[in-house]
């Protein structure tokens, strides 16, 4: 009785918002005040600690209630699994009658079950004090509001200062970003600042940053993401293993308390990371290291850089989905893993419109990159390959199956209730997993995610195909200057 609905999958996690609107909760300062010297930038980490209650500061009552919630959800989930198991006879005979469509349902169920079964096996590599030289590369475009805070957050990271380099690349911003970067350089003299005279796109900015950086490991943090102070050392732990080319950290939603959309995305992020990336990581085959917080070995990056930077798709330069493309380029010959201890927080879209634009962009990059990933993933572990092939196949079939189940089956068999209930049960399991694993009262937002997924996101696959030609980012200009644009380099004031 499985459905297409309950799959959490990670699309290309590339995002960049209009940063003027990104800090929705922070009041805009008036024009006059902005001209004055800025006060010491807000430490984003403080904001994080306030935004992410981790049961530490909760009262005893809340602790007891969350425990109770976890326990009840555990029993509830077990009962639900048992109930689904009882329906297996019916499902099997439905399968015999309609092998094509119920075969799909069974496969989806199998896929979800293996993902959820593999995920708990994942254990993050413990930090054994491995501290290679690291370069944090920050591409920035029109981010005067927060670029200084982002740079400060990098230097606030709990990492040996002599092994840390920060490279910021201003991608031809038209606002005060460059001035802000230079003012940050006054506080952090080791900062390496680069500037394109004209906007060349995020990929070019990242590539320039990678080329000019000097650390063994390049770390990427999206401009709308904040890394916890201990995140940087945590993400290095895996690089002790020479086979590993890339590591992706955990991302949670920074503004999860803002509205139902962000709460919903928090549940989705958790499953996308802990379950999808966690299970992929067991085989060293994470197919998307989200731009929120990821790290790669620099020599590996340099070897794939020309291909990645000049990637073309359907005769145009590929713009969005840089993170997924980079992961794929690295994954071909190296292992990419997930590190749950390396935690970051990212700003999720707060309006449906922004959310859909972002999802469509992820979908398009997923479409493009799945064409690459199917060509080499078979060389990885067979189980990882099978799961990846399934995850590539399912979104194509999901809309057809949904129409078939809800319309055709209803006309033929009289009622869609059995199918709908199956979908609901799967959605419940998805949400209960979050409640049990995270002991979180936000668990039920998983239900709304599945509803949104079935109502909108499933259909986006075809829409994305139809609009593949439109490569606009949605928040960025899509026309970029060519490679001849001069690069201005503001070297570090002191050499580190």
């Amino acid at each position: 009785m499985g459905t297409a609905s309950t799959r959490a999958r990670s699309r290309g996690h590339s995002r960049q918002f209009d940063l003027a609107t990104r800090i929705g909760s922070r009041p805009q300062r008036p024009e006059r005040e902005r001209a004055l010297p800025r006060p010491a930038p807000i430490d984003p980490l403080e904001e994080v600690e306030a935004a992410v209650p981790e049961h530490l500061e909760d009262s005893l009552l809340v602790c007891i209630l969350s425990r109770l919630l976890q326990l009840v959800c555990l029993i509830y989930g077990a009962a639900l699994v048992y109930w689904i198991w009882l329906a297996k006879d019916v499902t099997v005979s439905l399968f015999l009658r309609d092998p094509l469509f119920y075969g799909y349902s069974l496969l989806v169920t199998l896929y979800c079950a293996s993902r959820f079964a593999l995920a708990p096996i994942y254990r993050p590599t413990p930090d054994r004090g491995f501290r290679p030289t690291a370069s944090i590369v920050i591409p920035a475009f029109n981010e005067q509001e927060c670029i200084e805070a982002t740079i400060d957050a990098c230097y606030a990271a709990d990492y040996p200062a002599d092994r840390l380099q920060v490279v910021v690349v201003d991608d031809g911003s038209t606002d005060q970003t460059w001035q802000r970067i230079l003012s940050a350089r006054m506080r952090h003299p080791a900062l390496l600042c680069l500037r394109f005279e004209r906007n060349r796109g995020k990929r070019a900015a990242m590539a320039e940053g990678i080329r000019r950086s000097s650390g063994e490991i390049c770390v990427f943090v999206d401009s709308d993401s904040v890394v916890r102070a201990d995140g940087l050392q945590a993400i290095m732990a895996d690089f002790e293993d020479g086979r590993i080319g890339g590591v992706v950290g955990q991302a949670d939603v920074l503004n999860k308390s803002e509205n139902w959309l962000t709460r919903m995305q928090q549940v989705r992020y958790y499953v996308a990371f802990r379950v999808i990336k966690g299970s992929e990581s067991l085989f060293g085959a994470v197919t998307c290291a989200s731009g929120c917080f990821s790290a790669y070995r620099r020599p590996v990056l340099l070897s794939v850089l020309p291909r990645w930077e000049t990637q073309r798709f359907l005769g145009r330069k590929a713009t969005y989905g840089d993170d997924r493309a980079l992961t794929n380029a690295v994954l071909r010959d190296h292992r990419v893993v997930y590190q749950a201890r390396a935690r970051s927080y990212t700003l999720a879209p707060t309006t449906m419109r922004q959310f859909l634009v972002q999802q469509l962009r992820w979908k398009k990059s997923w479409l493009r990159e799945s064409l690459h990933v199917v060509r080499f993933i078979w060389r990885k572990h067979p189980l990882a390959a099978a799961l990846t092939y399934m995850s590539v196949l399912f979104p194509w079939l999901a809309p057809i199956v949904l129409v078939h189940s809800l319309c055709w089956r209803t006309l033929a068999a009289g009622s869609p209730w059995f199918y709908l209930m199956g979908a609901y049960a799967m959605a419940l399991l998805y949400s209960l997993y979050y409640a049990i694993a995270r002991r979180s009262p936000l668990w039920w937002h998983g239900l709304s995610f599945v509803a949104v997924y079935m109502a909108i996101l499933v259909w986006q696959t075809y829409y994305a195909v139809a609009t593949l030609g439109n490569t606009a980012w949605g928040t960025r200009a899509s026309v970029h200057a060519d490679d001849t644009t001069p690069v201005i380099v503001a070297p570090p004031l002191v050499s580190s």
Partner: protein, 330 residues
Amino acid sequence: MTNRGLRETIVGLVMIPLSVVPIWLYVTKTDDGYLMYLRARYALAPPSTPRLSHEQYRLASAARHQREVGVAVLLYHGIGRTSTDGGGSRFVISRTRFAEQMRALDAAGYRAITCRMLAGYLRNGRSRNLPRKPILITFDDGRFDAMLQADPILRDTHLRATMFVIAKRAQDGALYYATSDELRGYVRSGRWEIENHTYDLHSAQQVGRFSRSALATPHAGETLSHYRWRISRDLDRAQHSLGGPIAFAYPFGDWGEEAPAGVAQVLHRVLRKRFLLAFDQDGQSSWRSAIPGDDRLRIHRLEVSDWTPVALLARLRVGSRRSAAALRHA
């Protein structure tokens, strides 16, 4: 902060029962859901078979020594709540009522027989191979709710039953009908025998303003020989998939009495070659037990509805008396 944490936690807790609401609606408002509920109930904790009250038991066991003439054939359809059937309460009986009736039959000394035993009795007229008070309990349609709930009751009352199965629906495996696998399991228990209720002719067919049984209705312009070929093929498919039954039940009890001329005869000839017995559900008010000399292809069954155990025993008594009179008359 803590306040918000507390509020969120409480909302999270409240959402647990709220999230059960769709499941609850599914179970209480839809047929599928009710059947899914029954599956869970019987898999986890099957309910115990209700017992007769002291008074009912006394009345039922008082009938133990009454002599029985002929074989009473009872007909049930579904067991459960009435909403599981569009036809209303005529085709469904509550589990408690069914259990009471079975308990009463047991207490009154009835022993359930098989179709083959009944066929033998009708053929040679000898009741030597029958128990002293024989009864044949039949169910039509192969409904899952009936088999699931009747089975433990039959076990507890030492009875057995005959299920007339619409073969195609058992193969299709809709929730509403017992699947072929489940049927095999019930046969293995020794409490059930599976008989023929057509392969796929258990449907209503519109003839002018009337709706008729598909089995007894030739298509428009169809010759009788083609009609004969068509129903023969259907019945043979059912025979094949059900493992060679020896008895047949007319869908809706319609043996072709209102069909165009010749149809009833063709049907009779088709059935005669394939079955020892065929059951209808005619003449409820004048119903009596089956006795030697009855048409073996038109055995009447008593449609049992929501009667008290005492009322059921009284109906059986009346049927037996009528059969005794018919025998004397013959």
